[in-house]
Symmetry: C2
Subunit: 222 residues, 2 copies
Amino acid sequence: MRKQRQVASDAGLSKKRVVVEAVRLADREGVDGLSMRRLAGALGAGAMSLYHYVASKEELLDAMIDVVFEEIELPPEETDWQSAMRRRAVSARQVLARHPWAIGLMESRTSPGPAHLRHREAVTACLRRAGFPVLMATHANWLLDVYVYGFALQEASLPFDTADEFADMAEDVFLPQLPPDEFPYLNESAAALVAAGYDPAEEFIFGLDLILAALEPLRASA
Amino acid sequence: MRKQRQVASDAGLSKKRVVVEAVRLADREGVDGLSMRRLAGALGAGAMSLYHYVASKEELLDAMIDVVFEEIELPPEETDWQSAMRRRAVSARQVLARHPWAIGLMESRTSPGPAHLRHREAVTACLRRAGFPVLMATHANWLLDVYVYGFALQEASLPFDTADEFADMAEDVFLPQLPPDEFPYLNESAAALVAAGYDPAEEFIFGLDLILAALEPLRASA
DNA sequence: ACTATGCTCGTACGCTGTACGATAGTCAAG
DNA sequence: CTTGACTATCGTACAGCGTACGAGCATAGT
């Protein structure tokens, strides 16, 4: 028994260790750089040893997604529903920005893991307790998820991380591709964005608060 | 000259033919089923012949995405901005539902193709002409894209297509996984959804109209 | 007739996921 | 102490992947 635990926490393998290392590897090298051989190498094991802990690479990917969900904060219970939703949405954006490969994986993975389910339950509970009728709560839940995942998807496909990088790329890469007579409005937008500075966190809050405010009148204020 | 055209439209290859066939293959077999050898087979050619038309599989994937963008309706110019945005959003959802692999590809592809750019220009133009200030137009554009792509992403990860399929799966697969004492709210939601019937098109319009209405006061009504 | 150019594709290399079977260590029953 | 079962590890092998390389061919220009 003690041996078991010691082995699991030391050099020995375990499903958890395999999955967590896979997440680290995907963070570092992207999902294309994640192969069973490389993962095994990072764990100091042979490639086929992994198959004692995961049935296939597909199952590994599912488990990785669930690890990501574990990292997302649940909506706190002690505040109003808007603050609670904002907290969990902001946390989700941060987590998905940390693990950009996760968002691309979701399209093909169809069954939610345990952490995902716990998360959904907590969000639904928060909305119901705030006074949303059952069906309206599912709409709101769906809409907020759409926003969070959609934002993460768009953010992941941006080739820059900071406002400065954006300004540089706009001048060097984007604008040269946009002849002003063919794309007058995009030129105008790009110029305005460079001047104003682009902050993804602000952009996220803008849309999120707009949606939260629009949902407010749809609950039956108890 | 005539020969050239004839060859291109008959058995001969061309970049367009390669990319379009790749889209068809991905629709049929999923993006994992799309390999250069299989694609070449579908075109009656050798695998390496494809590389005269695309520099790499990456470039092929980029071109496939742009074909998808070509299928999306541009916002019509002769109506109010909300109707125009609704038209293009509904079209985008339909197209992305037809090509579910596209949404998962967007995460890793960072530079927009020509059709994508034309689309963005048209949407920005519509918003600017409706009276949105420059920066507000970029916010609105971004928010609407987030909604469309986020919805498509969620829809692609649903393991059912119709309300009936949903009802069947809810009874057979989802509910057995959700012990009522651990997931009371999800049970309640699932039951309500089964009773009410689930229609993705309606769900899409719900969130879309909510966002459009919330954006309305942010434009300077000229 | 000769050369150049554009297109096609066979072969080969280093990768992938994983099926199969061999190996060794642990432990309970005889 | 021996035996057999069970768990964990991994070497080997196979089919399939993207694609570098270069050979073969048809056509166009000189």
